[in-house]
Symmetry: C2
Subunit: 226 residues, 2 copies
């Protein structure tokens, strides 16, 4: 059975990617990160989703001895307006929730895990529609990282490189909700809100994108009670 590493944040995108990879016949190994984010709510979600999917789940813990993001530093306010920007517009509009090089760090650990497992595919839920303007979600970044996987690993040097797969790359949030519904993603276990309170705040970028996705797809978000 072919193996894959799936980056699982606990959000709806990575949960959908996990169920998609399972649907494609992969034995999935989930990977999450405890990196000093201001709340740990999403890690609990990641753990529940991996359990629901029947997959092994590893958590890498690291402390960044620097800040530079509102997701790492409680003193920086989390923006409350949804940034609907195109990839072209994104350069000047990167919000304070951007964590410097976060997806690069996550994919690097995923490469290490995949090499150790003998997995040939890494799945990531990055997409560039309805996104917050993060440079490390763009297709050109994924392509560049694939080149790193080819040139900088044992498997790459042995002409059997690990591939980074971002199957949501061209999907918007509504399309992701529809796909997830079809695949049986347990959306009630996922968590998107940047704030880690008991219920989603309903105001941050991430809540706004999620609400828009469910609304446009014509489904009710199971996390929203009223």
């Amino acid at each position: 059975m072919k193996r894959a590493v799936v980056l699982l944040s606990g959000g709806m995108d990575s949960a959908t990617v996990l169920y998609l990879a399972k649907d494609k016949g992969y034995k999935c190994f989930c990977l999450s990160f405890d990196y000093g984010q201001v709340h740990k709510r999403e890690l609990k979600s990641a753990s529940s989703i991996a359990r629901a999917a029947g997959c092994l789940h590893k958590v890498v813990r690291f402390g960044l001895p620097w800040k530079g993001s509102s997701l790492l530093d409680k003193k920086i306010p989390i923006p409350q307006r949804a940034h609907q920007v195109s990839a072209k517009q994104s350069a000047g509009q990167i919000p304070s929730t951007y964590v410097p090089a976060r997806n690069i760090i996550f994919l690097s650990f995923a490469l290490s895990f995949a090499e150790t497992l003998g997995a040939k595919d890494i799945f990531i839920g990055a997409h560039c529609h309805d996104y917050s303007g993060y440079p490390d979600c763009r297709p050109e970044f994924i392509r560049a990282f694939n080149l790193v996987a080819q040139k900088g690993t044992r498997s790459g040097a042995q002409k059997s490189p690990i591939r980074i797969c971002s199957p949501l790359e061209n999907k918007n949030k509504a399309q992701i909700v529809k796909l997830g519904k079809k695949l049986g993603v347990p959306f009630h276990l996922t968590w998107s809100c940047y704030k880690g309170e008991k219920v989603p705040c309903g105001r941050c970028d991430s809540c706004n994108f999620r609400a828009m996705g469910f609304r446009k797809a014509g489904f009710k978000d199971p996390l929203i009670k009223k």
Copy 2:
């Protein structure tokens, strides 16, 4: 004063790169990793070298929840024969000391640190002569990672990307010793041996390369007493 992040392992190559960057007029911020390596001797050396150079030094700590290398797993023996291989030969001859995706992980953290500092250059002591056949020391890997820095970071999206500089890329160990001597590198503070004992073992790959470098350059290694 322009800033640079310097990956500092505690070995002679990264120490030479630090002194080279200082010589080029950079204010250097050193970065090391406590990642579960079987000995911590090199971290003490990194700290001493950064202090001698008068530079700020940060250590990122992470635990890899997998092994896959003799530098992470005491049960795997460390090879005692020097692998003198060319980059072309390396594919089939990667030794057990290769840590899956290690330099990729290190450079990812360096990118995050550099973005936070506003540094535009990252220095790494990778080189492909007299090396152990590590794929993540090859020039083509450094080029691929430069593309990641352009495509996957805020500074890259804003057309002011961080550059990965590997000034030792085409130098062999003897040339590195000569350069270090010219720059005043405190070689007595550096540590190369894969085993973290009181004195270098003199038998592992890393000891062999170091000894060859000093011998060919015509200098005495200050770590070797007899």
